[in-house]
């Protein structure tokens, strides 16, 4: 009965590869987010979508492309992976513009080797 689920939980890949992380929420929320937690544990917002439309793009390299096929899904596709992309990526969802009440997924630990 997971509210916000991400797959995979762990992802190890080589530099230069393209990979995707999927996120699904069953809460009926309109707004979804991707956060990146770096090696120093800082959580920073990357993207936010509201009802499939991009509303936040926090100066993220264009190798990162979110895709929202419907409002229950916000997938993160990363091209040409670099070592510095290694991090934990968290998906979250909330009612529109209510990030203060967001539900978070378990995170996807991406390791680029």
């Amino acid at each position: 009965d997971t509210a916000v689920s991400q797959t995979p939980k762990y992802l190890v890949t080589q530099m230069g590869n393209d990979k995707s992380i999927k996120c699904e929420q069953n809460l009926g929320h309109d707004t979804m987010y991707w956060y990146k937690q770096d090696s120093k544990k800082f959580l920073k917002i990357m993207f936010s979508y509201n009802n499939k439309e991009l509303i936040i793009n926090e100066t993220v390299p264009n190798r990162f492309s979110p895709k929202s096929p419907d409002k229950a899904h916000l997938n993160l596709h990363i091209n040409s992976l670099e070592l510095g992309d290694s991090a934990v990526y968290f998906c979250a969802s909330s009612q529109p513009y209510r990030v203060s009440e967001a539900f978070f997924g378990q995170g996807t630990r991406l390791t680029v080797v």
């Binding site: 936040i56 979250a92 990030v99 203060s100 967001a102 978070f104 378990q106 995170g107």
Partner: protein, 114 residues
Amino acid sequence: AQSVSQHNHHVILSEAASLELGCNYSYGGTVNLFWYVQYPGQHLQLLLKYFSGDPLVKGIKGFEAEFIKSKFSFNLRKPSVQWSDTAEYFCAVNVALNDYKLSFGAGTTVTVRA
């Protein structure tokens, strides 16, 4: 832009000890304040939040936090910790008029020894 700093990187304590985690933010306007917890292998969960009103906020699992506006602080406390409180704790802020972005602190790892 607002920023959040958490003073303690790693706290180790014994069961029944009291816990206090510091959090300071930098933003001059009205803010909403939060503490999140991440237990090992689990997702981030909201412990408590402050929007307005009584600056002493009570959350789940016996946690409380006090908002001191003059100090730009929102410290988290628990009078008597349990082994199950072992987790990462994150302080977060968002600007009340701009409620689509959370700014997180670096987190504090709390290890409770039985």
